[in-house]
Subunit: 158 residues, 2 copies
DNA sequence: ATAAATTTGTTCTATATGGAACAATAATTA
DNA sequence: TAATTATTGTTCCATATAGAACAAATTTAT
């Protein structure tokens, strides 16, 4: 008897869709970016905003919650919630800004740095896996192009 | 008096991060893909999974809910919920599969097609805006590279 | 033929998420 | 100076989301 469900080529839609390039970026987000956040949550116990705090504060020595929201393009309340959990977990410390009582400067702790290194190692591997499909020169081209796109995106108003 | 907050160059992190290419894909998702889904929700009243149903069924004449989940890499229960709402809204119709009582074939209706065209027109404009930062040859390169990446991603097990 | 395993679509549940409104503070304008 | 506007960080709330478990149907293995 014939197979009921012919094996459908699900990737046809990549070319058929009306906005093929944007669609593929979106597809990569669904297929890779979000599952990766999910892996981080499962394996390291941190949700997206929590990891983003580590990432930002591993690279800038002092930031406000608002800075992190802007850098990562996430809403402030998500960051705010994450800050409290990260303080409880001992991954961040917070000091009031003497010049502006509304603000608090955030810093990463030693424990936070270690956690960041662990998560980064995982993400570096994952990046290598994903981009293994490109040759070195393709990889270099992609790097240049995605840089332009990301820089442009960072100029868009929120 | 000096400005309290020196204007921070938030895009430094693009180069500093340990996985710069994957980070930028993720950033584009945060900065563009998800806000775009949000626009679609606000302007057209459809959430991500609901729009994905339209998109898939505008390009394949008949699919099961499971097919759509596979094509879009979304969880089945999200699609299942969306199917019911889209049936209620009259954008889809569903016919039981005579060969397999577990399944139902989904089709897009006339109204669904119109809605799809409206949303697509918006997304096409949005794509044009985003990629306007690339030259024609850059755009062509990017198209080729993102195609490879998306095709590779589609082979990853879920 | 029967049992075990898989597939589909669903509901239930817990959690992540982001908008809106808010109080406190600071900056800007009149 | 006084009044208005903007900013920061927060809480509240409604909703989107995905995992887990499930029943029904089908397929595969014994």
């Amino acid at each position: 008897m014939a197979r009921k469900s012919e094996s459908l080529d699900y990737s046809n839609i990549f070319e058929a869709v009306e906005f093929p390039d944007a669609y593929k970026v979106s597809y990569l987000a669904n297929a890779i970016v979000f599952p990766t956040y999910e892996d981080v949550r499962k394996d390291f116990g941190l949700v997206r905003a929590e990891y983003h705090l580590l990432l930002c504060l591993a690279h800038y020595s002092e930031l406000t919650a608002q800075d992190v929201a802007r850098i990562t393009r996430r809403p402030r309340n998500s960051i705010s919630r994450a800050v409290h959990r990260m303080l409880d977990l001992g991954f961040l410390k917070r000091v009031p800004d003497p010049d502006d009582a509304r603000r608090a400067k955030l810093q990463i702790t030693r424990e936070g740095k270690i956690m960041h290194q662990n998560i980064s190692a995982y993400l570096v591997d994952r990046e290598a896996e994903i981009f293994s499909v490109l040759s070195d020169t393709e990889r270099e081209s992609f790097r240049e192009l995605i840089r332009k796109l990301a820089n442009f995106a960072s100029t868009l108003k929120r």
